[in-house]
Amino acid sequence: MRPIVEITALNVSLHRAGRAVAVLQDIDLTVRAGEILALLGESGSGKSTLALTLLGLLPDASRPLISGSIRIAGAEVVNAGPAELRALRAGIGVVFQDPVGSLNPTMNIGRQLGEAITDGRSPEYWLDRVGLSRPRERLRCLPHQLSGGQCQRVMIAMAMARRPVLIIADEPTTALDVFVQARILQLLRQIACEEGVAMLFVTHDLGVAGVLADRLALLHAGRLVEVGEVKDVLRAPAHPYTLSLLAARFGLGVDRQRQLPVSEFWSNNGSGGARPLVSSQPWPAIRGADQREKRERAAPWLLVMTEVCKRFVLPRRSLFAAPVTVKALERVSLRVADGEAVAIVGGSGSGKSTLLRLAAGLDQPEEGCVLYSAPDRPQMVFQDAIGSFSPWLSIGEQIAEPLRLLALSGSERRRRVAQTLARVGLEAALCDARVNRLSGGQCQRAALARAIIVPPRLLLCDEAVSAVDLHVAAALLNLIGVLRRELGMALIFVTHDLAAARFVAERIIVMEAGHIVECGPSEALIEHPTHAATRRLLDSMPDRLAL
Amino acid sequence: MRPIRHLLLRGLLAVALPGMVSGAPAENVLHIAYLQDVSTFDPDNSFLLYGLDAMRVIYQGLVEYRPGTTDLTGWLAESWDVSADGLTYSFRLRPGIRFHDGRPMHAADVLAYFRRRRHPGLTLAYFLDDVAAMEAPDERTFVIRLAVPQPAFLDRLASAWGPKVIGPEALVDHLGKDQAQSWLNEHEDGTGPYRLRVVSRGQAYELVRFPDYWGPPPFFDRIEIEVIPQMAQQLLRLKQGTLDLIQHGYPFEGLRQLPPTLRMLAYDDLGLELCFVNRTRRLGDPTLLRAVLTAINPAGWLGDAYFGYAVPATSLYPRAMIAAPPQWVFPSDVRAARAMVAAQPPVTLEIGYPDEDAAGQQIPAELIAAQLESLGIHANVRVYPIDLAGVFVNDLKEAPDLWISHNYPDAAHPATQAEIFFAGNAPLNYLGYRNPSVDEAIASAALITTRAERDERYLAIARRLMADGAILPLAEVKNVIVYRAGLSGFNPRPALPEVVDFETLRRDAPAR
């Protein structure tokens, strides 16, 4: 099949805060018709910049410097004029990460889709083609009236309606719910085969790339480190970066008794070496296991939640519509023993995060009660790492907040903070830094430091590893596991990823639409799921996708 | 209401509302403007300055002043004679006089009017306070008997605000419960050469020639009057030609180089720039008063205020009323004054002036403030609505320390000056100077008929007031009429403030 995209010796540098920064260096890549090429790279590797360069949509503000050649279906993109660019884009369909944001909020779907149609077919046809139910009715809807998944289907329809030769999908499923993600990937797969269209699939998720793509291109710090057929790359990775990436992967089969293997590659921040040593450590002994029997007899459960209900009032859609109330939790009961590790799993909107906030005492339930038998307050780590710290105070000061209750001298407080920072793997110098100088991983470690500087009886994690890169997630899971055992804390770990849940917790609770639908030991629940929701969760795991 | 500056009267651009119909080219039309709206055309019920020239050609009194003089002559009365004891005045009315409603005027109509004038609810009723009885023995004779002799009585009848005969349409057809006050606000039934038509209340009026006028017909067929509250706008309308004259208030500084199309007529009237002193506050202290008087001395600022169109006043009466050598000398030792002020704790005085003629009063008031400042006395200058000025006496603690204003007597007789400004309960004794001996002197002086003795008595009263530092003479300012070349026959009368005689006014150049 003839190559649709030919990129030769491409170099791109952008101006950030006045200085020109090289974002892409010596990129050579081709995408052939009917083929799906996955462009895999971590955040900051330059994968989105490559996609925008192909479209000629780099923001003027960053004064881009582009050299080398990009030919799409024979036409040259680099320093093409606005007219040529417009003609060239006629052959390209694009699907962006934020589905709702990519549609004009004040124009109905029908008109927006109509603008893209070139082959005279009706918008209704295309909506049906991408699997939207009741297409005629959807035409009059506005973007805010559709779900994320439905909007993404509209975007795909819009891309296809122009009979493109190339489709660029820039992280199309990252923002979607885990169930919806699977169905969108199947739709993209089906379209690539049936329409014989070349597809460039940009993602940071190795699992999704491995399942969906024919060929794989790994991008690290602006350079292509490895390109090849998916089968070859996964079976025999050539470059140390690929090797470390595969090592950091953890599926449902990983050994729970040992920590996850972490490659040396990341320790000297990715400069790479010949063959990186991949090692995995054993878990430390669980402190206070013996005292726990005594305590259990005295107060069997650390946290007891009985028949808890929680309702939210949505902002009024129109000035007259009666306010809509959503039942987040309906008569949910949960018990956590002292030192026990529990994972709560479910799709978005299942109420898992709401339950966690009730456990932490941040919100009050409308009905039912929450009993926490320890003297201190449970501590919590959030998904939004950067948002966990105030931008106006130094990290050290915020970590030391729990110490203000104890009458400690200033120097004693600084010593405790430095010691806790070391314990979570951060240098003491970060104490005076502000949050904008830390990476996502470092922020989560600092959040953990704040949580354990005065060890609580219960640690709560709300999707703590979902927003970070794969290898950072692995290291954080190890750290949480080590700290839990060393400090003898109980843990409630909320996630949508069953593999992470199985690894970190002894017991898994599955939630759907505000109810607990299944609960059981990790291994047993994954081997023999009873409830349909658990089975759907399992089927949507990347390595189980039947594509 | 605490005083608020009346700045906008000096604002740049004016109100020029719907002009009048240009009418047939042959018609002679005069365009004039007032700075303030005429609140009422009832000759017995308002003290305003604006509208007097119009009033004079709508309503007429029994006697008036001959142009350019303060000598009395007949108006509606052909002749008159006064009884020996000065109590009875009998007037011989002119024949063939008609009211604007067409009915002829008889002595009975005059009697009916004079009775209406004495109604207590009317502002100007006090003119006839001393009247004992009135009667109309026959068609053309009208007799007034006074309770006590009043040599100034005839002057009062000739005053700008004096009694003017109102016809039966008002006093009979529309008398109503309020002596036809509301009807007379916007309608008239006079005997003058022009009839009034209210075009748009508050903005534009029109005087149309009365065909059956008893006297010689005036030159202009119609006179358009517009209310243009900004002097700047009147100046420009005058230069553009859509305004024929400005009776009062043309900036003195601008008189030095008039544009070629304009002419000017400066004449002395009975107006007097006076400074009233509030002795109940800080200026009760004589030493401070002396220092203040040094600053007020007009010699220091007269030239910069009036550019040569004013002379220091000799006494509390205009020269046209009592010609006399200077009766008062301001202290002039500035160094002593400054030393005196330095010895005192810092003082801030309040200077006030009326909003009625804000354009003319602002600069003198601020010049005096600057003079005071040079001695180390800070002074605030505020404009007060004329209504508020009338109530200063109620609460002198809140009233200003100095009140600068341009004042007109009711008529040419010194009694009409003394009884209005100097007497204890005088209506315009702004800052409440009370001196029983002065009041007695005023009462006795009012009875003297011989001019020489009368003048000496009133000068003595003035000297007393000036010595007490109650009222101080500042300047006699010429009234300057600026008009487009071609107009003549203004015939100004000293006793009638800012009044142009529309009866004798004519235009030599062809009608525009």
């Binding site: 307050r377 729990p402 203000r404 | 700045l7 604002g11 600069i363």
Partner: protein, 260 residues
């Protein structure tokens, strides 16, 4: 960040110029220095006004009298507004509802008329005008503070701080209020220009300080009649107001781009 720096320099320069105004002035603004209506000359850069006082000195003094009362208004209303806004947002419940409705009422009614009527009633004077304007000006700041504090309350670091045992007063001052400072600063700077114009509006109508105080608005109004003969006498004070307002508007814009 250049825009932010330029903004601060401009504000600093204006404050210094306004502070030094009286020192730079060649003569006492209340005393007569020469004959009135003098043309601008080397001796008197802007000539003399209708009374013969030095116009340049009066304009410089006028700038001082326009600048510092405006600062007082901004400071006074910002302080009240921030306090009430933060109190409302933190207290929540009916306190918040009452404060929000009150500030909304003020933003809806034409506040200028209320201020004008207030001064018309209690009497003119610079500090009466300052009081009247501050009374109607604080709601804007209350609304900004309230919305910023409520937005940041949902952020994770506030929940984390609550769990770490931070008590409400410290939580409000150290974690929530700083979120409002950037927009408050920008609003205050831009508002400074509006207040300067509003004060000049008051004094133009004669509701500011009485004559002969050198107030720019009153000077412009009083000398309006000589616009066609000596145009610089009314234009100089009006232009001085423009310079003050323009500098603060530029500074406000600079700060806004700096914080974006």
């Amino acid at each position: 960040m250049i825009a932010g720096r330029v903004a601060c320099i401009a504000l600093g320069a204006m404050t210094v110029l306004a502070a030094l105004g009286p020192l730079l002035a060649p003569a006492n603004p209340l005393l007569r220095v020469d004959v009135p209506y003098l043309e601008p000359s080397l001796q008197h850069w802007l000539g003399t006004d209708e009374i013969g006082r030095d116009l340049l000195s009066r304009v410089l003094y006028g700038m001082t009298r326009a600048w510092f009362p405006s600062l007082v208004i901004i400071f006074f209303s910002a302080a009240i507004g921030t306090a009430l806004g933060a109190l409302g947002a933190a207290a929540g419940g009916w306190v918040d509802l009452v404060l929000d409705r009150l500030s909304e009422l003020f933003t809806v009614i034409p506040s200028t008329f209320v201020a004008l009527a207030t001064v018309a009633a209690i009497g003119s004077g610079t500090w009466h005008a300052v009081l009247a304007i501050s009374l109607v000006w604080w709601p804007w700041y209350a609304r900004i503070t309230r919305s910023e504090v409520r937005n940041v309350a949902a952020r994770p670091f506030v929940s984390a701080a609550r769990l770490a045992g931070v008590r409400p007063p410290r939580l409000l001052t150290r974690y929530q209020l700083p979120a409002a400072f950037p927009s408050l600063l920008v609003a205050a700077t831009l508002d400074m220009a509006n207040v300067i114009l509003m004060l000049s509006f008051f004094s133009f109508l004669g509701l500011g300080a009485p004559a002969p105080a050198p107030e720019l608005g009153a000077m412009a109004a009083r000398s309006m009649v000589s616009l066609t003969t000596h145009w610089w006498i009314p234009l100089a004070p009006a232009f001085a107001i423009f310079v003050l307002a323009f500098a603060t508007n530029l500074a406000g814009d600079g700060l806004r781009t700096a914080f974006e």
